[in-house]
């Protein structure tokens, strides 16, 4: 245990960044001594020891357990609900449904009309019908199963490709078109006319489910008029605002806590109907309620990466210059407005230099669960199409795929108004350094040489990408408290999803204050006790929070300098903060230890408040990536084995090399799922129901489906414009090129262009059988 009279948590001998004058933002770092290192997580102990309390671990005295009865049909009108038998079962304390006056609430506003908490018409399988709270979860489920519901089953449409055909049932009275978006620049016809080669191909990606390991849910408890919710969430303030809105409560009376959470990937950016239901049942029963979804429920009603149907037409000159890109996508956000085609066209618009681009996105309604943001919404899908097309174009003009991409690297964002330059782009270096580190040319050559022999064929492929966001932005407020002993508290509203946010922030504070990272204690993700933050998502958490944390730490230093100036009777500008002490630049005999500052003794701690400053005007900040892989295909069985991956990532400054690498391998694993194993399957013909709503039938990659050999190559451009840390987002760009790189490698191995995910044996063996026999 530390002796609090000492100042043992300062670090000797490491350079500490200059402290700017009060009111000034610190300039970007040059060299760093803590930031960038490979350090274990500050909350690693909690996560491996079992002491971390996830929301699903929270157990309150006298707590009830909830269960939700969901509509088993994709489209049905509820005629009658009879819960009388259920109410008599042992342990049942509360049943609510559309018949409950207190539950007559607007859950969400949608362009097609308000969505009620209990809709009289269920437009997707899994919408809520009734809910139960009982003494044990077993009793809650017994009761849910005992509720009798009379449904009028309505005609449905479960395939977005059918949704606009004449005579197809409509999801909403206004029809099945949710939204159509168009984008155009240059002259597309002229662009195609200028091309030496014009190619067109259609692509499809299947619907993916997030399925984080911790199911969605919460524990709700009322303390008088105040509501506290422990929610498995990516953003406690987002949960607070929706709950307050739906239940018509003051924001200040809704406290949402999410210290730990077991994965979200975009599906926990918002609360669910379950959150409201738990809060309602807790209120009506006067007891705390825990309500977590079953795994099967998480497949139906808490979001997905929607399916996309894309067509790309591209023109290229023999020298590799892109002249025209035309991209169209048909997609669906499910039964409500949910961004079914959002950003699918972004890479076509922005990744490569091309003067003539046209995109059209058609978003339709179907009777299926609404989409939610899923790690880099739209982008892996867009990359699946565009990056395969780039491969095809390269082959058509006899150019190496890496070279074709290098030929078309933009320095400005063409898709944005005014073509703002990127604050940094190392896309070129990702391609060049990545190809060199992977041994691209040698691997391509050797894979080819291996053909003609055995039935196992090797292929090598690559793809690139950028992420639409990733620069971070205001608002964010954080508070750093420094104690005389050199330990510090950080108070931050953001959630650490497992991306290592907390560890990065501890390192930022350690860097600025010259203290040990492990001496930073972090309070996060609690609307009752921490400052405002937007949800953690969109690869914006580090570039949003880290600059604010740095500003807060800098303010601590500024205050200490002022205290020292008073004590030493010199001008603060003359002083330098050295961690343990503060000294005059001119006269080293003028120095005082931080713990000896009288002003500090008077107030006990120094508090720094940091805000996220604005982003630079007329510039835009984005991460980039290029990924390379080698695969083996069994030409007799269609089995695909991914042998190795290399990811060259430009996410600006590496904040922690260890968690950086972890994020990237995670992105690749998820991309392997999109490419090879994952697919929601709806019984589109007869019932419209989802048939693979579990982890056996919906297949996530296992330890045996990923390669052992994965290399992460950070490419670090110096970005002094983006923010005062130079960091850009990492989580999403790491998964954007993966699936396309695999498809390109499969093409290289087999000569088969697989345009639909997933590349599983079912598809591949059939395609291999269908190809003309080799001579």
């Amino acid at each position: 245990m530390a002796d609090e009279s000492k100042d043992i948590y300062y670090v000797e001998g490491t350079p500490i960044p200059e402290t700017p004058l009060p009111g000034k933002e610190p300039p970007p770092w040059r060299e760093t001594s803590v930031v960038g290192k490979a350090l274990p997580r500050v909350d690693a102990y909690e996560r491996v020891s079992g002491s971390a309390a996830y929301p699903s671990d929270v157990h309150l005295p006298n707590m009830l357990h909830g269960a939700i009865l969901r509509c088993p049909h994709p489209h049905a009108r509820i005629r009658r609900i009879d819960a009388s038998a259920a109410a008599k079962l042992p342990g049942v304390r509360m049943i609510i449904s559309g018949n409950t006056p207190e539950a007559d609430l607007i859950w969400k506003k949608d362009p097609v009309g308000d969505m009620r908490l209990f809709e009289p018409i269920c437009r997707f399988e899994g919408d809520v019908v009734a809910a139960v709270a009982a003494e044990t979860p077993y009793q809650a489920w017994d009761a849910a199963h005992a509720i009798s519901v009379d449904y009028e089953v309505l005609p449905f449409v479960a395939d977005e490709r059918q949704a606009l055909k004449p005579g197809v049932p409509v999801v909403h009275p206004k029809g099945n078109v949710s939204k159509t978006d168009r984008y155009e620049r240059g002259d597309i016809a002229q662009g195609f006319a200028a091309a030496d080669v014009v190619l067109e191909e259609s692509y499809r990606t299947e619907c993916e489910l997030h399925t984080p390991l911790e199911p969605h849910g919460c524990v709700a408890n009322w303390d008088g008029r105040s509501l506290t919710i422990w929610e498995s969430s990516q953003g406690v303030y987002a949960v607070q605002s929706r709950v307050a809105e739906v239940l018509k409560l003051p924001l200040a009376r809704v406290r949402v806590i999410g210290h730990y959470m077991g994965g979200g990937f975009g599906s926990k950016l918002e609360p669910g109907k379950y959150t409201i239901i738990a809060a309602l049942m807790a209120k009506l029963s006067g007891r705390p309620v825990r309500l977590f979804l079953t795994r099967e429920e998480t497949y139906l009603c808490v979001g997905n990466r929607p399916p996309t149907n894309m067509t790309v037409k591209a023109g290229v000159k023999r020298d590799g210059t892109l002249t025209a890109l035309e991209f169209s996508v048909l997609g669906t956000g499910g039964a409500y407005t949910a961004g079914g085609t959002s950003l699918a066209d972004w890479l076509a618009r922005d990744l490569y230099t091309c003067p003539n681009v046209r995109t059209i996105s058609t978003d339709v309604f179907i009777n299926a669960g609404p989409a939610r943001a899923f790690r880099a919404p739209g982008h892996p899908q867009g990359a699946w199409a565009l990056e395969q097309m780039m491969d095809t174009l390269a082959e058509a003009i006899g150019m190496d795929p890496v070279q074709l991409r290098l030929k078309n690297i933009p320095s400005v964002s063409q898709a944005r108004e005014g073509n703002p330059p990127y604050t940094s782009t190392a896309f070129k270096e990702c391609l060049e350094l990545g190809a060199a580190a992977f041994g691209w040319e040698k691997a391509r050559g050797e894979a080819r040489a291996q053909r003609a022999s055995r039935h196992i064929r090797r292929g090598v492929g690559m793809a690139g990408g950028l992420w639409f966001a990733g620069g971070g932005r205001p608002p964010s407020t954080v508070v750093v408290k420094l104690f005389p002993d050199g330990s510090a508290n950080l108070n931050m509203g953001a959630s650490d999803l497992g991306t290592g946010t907390k560890t990065v922030m501890a390192m930022v504070i350690a860097e600025e204050l010259g203290i040990k990272p492990e001496a930073v204690q972090i309070e996060c993700a609690d609307t009752g006790t921490t400052q405002y933050a937007t949800p953690s998502g969109g690869s914006k958490t580090v570039p949003t929070e880290a600059p604010a944390v740095r500003n807060a730490a800098v303010q601590v230093k500024q205050k200490l300098l002022e205290m020292a100036a008073e004590a030493l009777k010199v001008d603060a500008a003359e002083l330098v903060y050295r961690g343990r002490d503060i000294a005059s630049r001119q006269d080293s005999s003028k120095r005082i230890a931080v713990k000896d500052l009288e002003a500090l003794k008077r107030q006990g701690i120094v508090v720094g408040i940091g805000y996220r400053g604005p982003n630079p005007k007329n510039m835009t900040t984005h991460p980039f990536a290029a990924q390379f892989c080698e695969v083996e295909v069994n030409m007799l069985t269609g089995e695909l084995k991914i042998l190795r991956f290399l990811a060259a990532q430009d996410s600006g400054r590496v904040m922690n090399r260890l968690t950086y690498g972890n994020q990237v391998i995670g992105g690749i694993t998820m991309g392997i799922g999109l490419a090879a194993t994952e697919q929601r399957i709806l019984d589109t013909g007869r019932t419209g129901k989802m048939v693979n709503r579990n982890w056996h039938d919906y297949k996530l990659p296992t330890a045996l489906d990923v390669p052992v050999d994965v290399t992460v190559l950070p490419v670090e451009p110096v970005d002094t414009a983006a923010n005062n840390t130079g960091a850009k987002g990492l989580g999403e760009p790491a998964t954007i090129p993966t699936a396309a790189a695999i498809a390109n490698a499969v093409y290289h191995a087999t000569g088969l262009r697989i345009t639909c995910t997933p590349i599983h044996p079912q598809q591949l063996v059939q395609r291999l059988a269908d190809r003309p026999k080799e001579g």
């Binding site: 007799l636 056996h696 489906d705």
Partner: protein, 327 residues
């Protein structure tokens, strides 16, 4: 969440049989399959009869004649790691090692593996299908990519989910059953029931009957056995297509043997067509090509499982080529 049920853990096989013979009782061996069925409420279970109080049903031993006796409650991992099984009945060790995941193999038993319920997703979720006493099969014109290409008989199109069952049929194993009317031995090949015989049963087990042990005759010298499984992901998955082989060689010539498919039919499916082509022959490229072609003769693919034709052909070609190379 599991529904409630009466529960008993009898101390003798006889008591277990007595309890299983009444009401809607189900036997609990490892429980890996039963828990899932209970959770999904696929069929009513009034009583769970646990077999875990019957240690005599566990263990692997060699019989006097050089064959093998495997207690029905032997865990799959114990089987796949057993030195004698690996050495002399390699196909069974491989098959047991390909089941599910490590934890499922630690818990799941051989008896449970051959008696498990189908994985058809209509059967496993809230569809009242033929096998559950409903009036219709949802798979026949539905999502049938994982369904059978043989033996559906126009009624129910499940595939038998077991990996060990085809290996046991290939090795000519026999199941010993104990029931209210005593015990009986049934060759594994006759143990499974096609839907055209009874759409609501997968095995010949009568009410109250359980599998107590599996016996495998001693392998004739020159016999090599193997199991190959193709699946959509490399762990924790059922076979898209699988093949168990037990072939007896005289130097390079196949004298006789069995070829049994998984992922093909509602029961482990003997490919007599392949057996006939390889019998008496050396596994030359031409013989292998003919055998690969023959494996799907008579197959009746559904709308979405046509790939299984190419898959079975490719897999047979690969496996026979491997066999030939090791001959």
């Amino acid at each position: 969440m599991l529904p409630s049920f009466d529960y008993i853990r009898p101390k003798s096989v006889q008591a277990a049989i007595t309890h299983l013979a009444t009401g809607s009782a189900q036997a609990h061996a490892g429980g890996t399959d039963l828990m899932g069925c209970l959770r999904e409420r696929i069929f009513p279970v009034g009583k769970v009869v646990s077999l875990s109080g019957l240690p005599e049903l566990r263990g692997v031993s060699e019989t006097a004649d050089g064959g093998l006796r495997i207690g029905a409650l032997t865990a799959l991992s114990a089987l796949s790691e057993h030195p004698i099984v690996i050495k002399r009945f390699g196909g069974l060790a491989q098959a047991a090692g390909e089941v599910g995941s490590p934890q499922l193999r630690n818990q799941g038993t051989l008896g449970g593996n051959i008696c498990q319920k189908p994985r058809c997703w209509y059967y496993r979720t809230d569809f009242t299908c033929l096998r559950k006493g409903g009036g219709t099969c949802f798979a026949v014109d539905g999502e049938n990519q994982f369904h059978c290409i043989f033996g559906g008989g126009g009624t129910c199109f499940i595939v038998h989910p077991s990996d060990t069952a085809p290996a046991l049929v290939a090795l000519n194993a026999t199941a010993r059953l104990a029931g209210p009317r005593g015990s009986r031995d049934v060759p594994l090949e006759k143990f499974f029931v096609l839907p055209e015989v009874d759409v609501q049963r997968e095995t010949v087990l009568a009410r109250g009957e359980i599998v107590t042990e599996i016996r495998i005759p001693p392998p004739v010298s020159g016999t090599r056995s193997s199991y190959r499984k193709v699946r959509a992901r490399r762990s924790w998955d059922f076979a898209l297509a699988g093949v168990a082989m037990a072939l007896r060689f005289d130097r390079k010539r196949v004298i006789d043997g069995r070829v049994v498919l998984s992922g093909a039919a509602p029961i482990p499916w003997r490919s007599k067509e392949v057996e006939q082509i390889v019998r008496g022959k050396e596994l030359t490229v031409d013989v292998i090509a003919a055998a690969a072609k023959a494996v799907t003769s008579g197959a009746e693919p559904l709308e979405k499982n046509g790939y299984k034709l190419a898959l079975f052909q490719g897999m047979i070609e690969e496996e026979l080529t491997l066999m030939a190379a090791s001959a």
